[in-house]
């Protein structure tokens, strides 16, 4: 794992969390929808919070796809689940929301889980024949060994 790859994993976590929060903030402005007002749903993207949220979620998706191109799904998913923790910490230290003992325990479990998977190998070594495209077949397996 190079520094650049850790940055991509951090990008997944941060962009997904920030994007979701901005979308939620924007939808609060707009109130609830009914299925009869589909035009309102289209107009929702004009709300600056919603626009910003969508842009961040696009950034999230690009990072996610990039990570999946060089790491296993079972590595990327747990490794990027710190977002749950991030939201709780922002709510606690930023907005002074109370966090119960069970939630702190949940935060601890997620953090330990993330550390656990991140310390292990990021990709299953592939056989040469599976790499038909541009990447060198050894790049992945070398990384697993290191």
């Amino acid at each position: 794992m190079t520094f650049r790859k850790y940055l991509v994993l951090a990008g997944i976590t941060v962009f997904a969390t920030a994007g979701d929060s901005l979308l939620a903030r924007g939808m609060k402005d707009l109130g609830s929808f009914s299925l009869h007002q589909l035009s309102a749903l289209v107009l929702a993207i004009l709300n600056p919070w919603v626009t910003a949220g969508i842009l961040l979620l696009l950034a999230f998706f690009s990072c996610y796809m990039s990570a999946l191109s060089w790491a296993d799904l079972t590595y990327v998913l747990p490794a990027t689940s710190l977002g749950y923790v991030l939201v709780a910490l922002i709510a606690h230290f930023g907005f002074h929301e109370e966090i119960s003992a069970t939630r702190w325990l949940g935060i601890a479990l997620i953090a330990v889980g993330v550390g656990f998977v991140a310390a292990g190998p990021s990709a299953t070594p592939r056989r040469q024949s599976e790499h038909t495209l541009d990447t060198s077949p050894d790049a992945v397996s070398q990384e697993v060994k290191s």
């Binding site: 799904l73 079972t74 069970t102 479990l109 889980g113 993330v114 292990g120 599976e130 990447t135």
Partner: protein, 126 residues
């Protein structure tokens, strides 16, 4: 009765998002290391190659189904049931599916990490 609908939605979310994740992961493995490709051929080649992978579109479709199932699930069940239950079950389902369909080596370390994160997600919602 509403609970049955909520759990049906949860089941659909888990199935659709696991299918989506597996298909997207499979597609990106076929594209190869995006960073390397970008350096060698430029960003347009990367985008072109991703979008010309047929399983990528299927994966996006599955993700869209998962997203709308979540919206329906939220209108039938509680936020505090639907979101953590589907998130935790998706972590576990993905580990099983990645092992079966993507032949990923899911060793003890990854199983423990997956279960810790799934349990943590549930606890944070209680």
């Amino acid at each position: 009765m509403r609970d049955i609908y909520a759990w049906a939605a949860i089941l659909l979310i888990v199935l659709a998002s696991t299918t989506g994740d597996v298909l997207l992961s499979y597609s990106m493995k076929r594209v190869g290391d995006v960073g390397e490709l970008w350096k060698r051929r430029g960003v347009l080649t990367v985008i072109g190659r991703v979008f010309s992978t047929p399983t990528f579109a299927l994966g996006l479709a599955a993700m869209t189904i998962a997203f709308y199932s979540l919206l329906f699930g939220l209108s039938w069940g509680n936020l505090s049931l639907v979101v953590p239950a589907s998130a935790a079950l998706t972590f576990v389902a993905n580990a099983v599916a990645a092992r079966i369909f993507l032949h990923e080596r899911v060793g003890r370390r990854r199983w423990i990490a997956t279960l810790l994160v799934a349990a943590g997600v549930v606890l944070m919602a209680v």
